[in-house]
Symmetry: C2
Subunit: 287 residues, 2 copies
């Protein structure tokens, strides 16, 4: 079991308490409650209390109060037979509110299915969170092809076409800040493993208006992605199609083959999806 690397970091440096460990003036119980949810979300089989304790380094007596609140409110439930805590129905319900905001649940599906039928390839929609892309929706090709991605899952943005499109849209300064001190994970020899090269690739993506992934995460898988812009021009997501490299053909013109259909679909999706800023912008609380 791996604990996710600290995904988000506040820019605020104000510190009240003095000792400061991490949160910098943050509210301990609030933080912990969310950490527990984060942790449990990654564990389909749930976690026993002692496992949560050791994963998050919480004292025994502190954890129980938190778990009781989470259980009482339905965000977590305990499977009594195995004494394991799992994500509860209330967490799901709250999450649905997000996809309703973005119209993902009802409106986006049919449009994406059309594109899938047009291309007969797997089609995906993702947004950026930190340095990961997060899959909002997916319509599988009818051809047999299993992707490791899936709705609600995340992959490192620098390894996917979707991710590169989304990263390319960030202001340079923001991009550098997010990349500062980060080591880009490599999954095979084609993965972009260093920041300078990533920045060069992103510049190309920005100019071309689309990104490719030629087996950079999964060997043998080729993807093309384009940004999804709302009517105001803001990038609200990215749209991709994925296929075995063999089916994509070779040479520099294989990506452009898919662009017209992808772009047409992206335009429709952009009109559907509410014009919301990148989640990360939540930091700008203090102005």
């Amino acid at each position: 079991m791996t604990i996710l690397p600290e995904p988000r970091r506040t820019t605020h440096s104000a510190n009240r308490g003095g000792t400061a460990g991490d949160g910098a003036g943050s509210i301990k119980s609030a933080e912990r409650v969310l950490r527990i949810l984060d942790l449990l979300a990654g564990q389909p089989d749930g976690l026993a209390a002692p496992e949560i304790r050791s994963a998050l380094g919480l004292p025994k007596s502190s954890l129980h109060g938190l778990l009781r609140v989470l259980c009482d409110r339905g965000y977590v439930f305990i499977d009594a037979r195995v004494r394991r805590y799992r994500i509860g129905i209330r967490a799901w319900e709250v999450g649905q509110a997000y996809s309703r905001i973005r119209n993902v649940a009802v409106l986006v599906g049919p449009v994406m299915r059309e594109l899938r039928d047009q291309l007969n390839e797997t089609v995906q929609l993702a947004v950026l969170d930190g340095l990961d892309n997060l899959y909002l929706a997916k319509v599988d090709s009818e051809q047999p092809l299993r992707l490791v991605s899936g709705v609600g899952l995340r992959l490192p943005a620098h390894t996917t076409a979707l991710g590169k499109v989304l990263l390319a849209d960030l202001p340079t300064e923001e991009l550098r800040r997010r990349l500062a001190g980060v080591t880009l994970a490599r999954f095979n020899s084609r993965t972009i493993g260093d920041t300078p090269r990533l920045l060069r690739v992103l510049a190309e993506v920005r100019q071309a208006g689309y990104a490719e992934d030629d087996g950079e995460y999964t060997v043998g898988l080729f993807c093309v992605a384009v940004p999804v812009r709302d009517p105001a021009g803001t990038v609200v997501a990215a749209l991709s199609c994925s296929m075995p490299s063999a089916r994509a053909g070779v040479g520099p013109e294989r990506a452009p083959n898919f662009l017209p259909a992808l772009r047409a679909c992206a335009t429709r999706l952009g009109a559907l999806m509410a014009p919301l800023p990148d989640p990360q912008d939540g930091l700008a609380l203090g102005g």
Copy 2:
């Protein structure tokens, strides 16, 4: 804007602090964080900080710390242009973990679509949460019919066929506890409006193994629902089909028409969905 009635209540009566307002020894910030999420989940357009404050009765200075934690962790984000807080992507991500646990995302859809094709009516899957049924999945009929329900939404269980099936499965004592002091909302003349009658109906449902809803929530809408049992026989959800009363016909044999198909599908779904207890069981923390 209405605030949901306190949905869950712990059975624990232990009380540490003494003053007790509500939570009885609960952790204030933890509770508040979840309350904020609950509140924002119901507001597609988000809420400004003062609105959150008045809705939850929080002091000005307390709210900001909580919101900062929620924003930093991505559970909430602030739309800077309108200064409104909304449910964030992380909340969605965590919620997806729940539907993955129950296999709702990937496996349940195709099976339900088959049933829809068989019956050519809208098919829905729901679980119980307190006295509400919560829609996990839905496959629309191809005939024009708009239901007020939808994935992630909840309706009072006593007004729907799904809800009645789910309530009927509760042990009598648990049922009485949940109904204690509750006034059953009425939506039209057919809605079951008093507890004794509800208990009688539920007894019939228990015996028959299915429930009907003949316009009790939406006038003119007829539904039939059956329990979804896992291989061990535990009810893990309920499955229904809905149609305009006109199409259902009249007389006592209209529901049985749908039962064979519904039950066959429910059996398949039960095998797919992990054997998880009712969310409410989370209360049994103390053993």
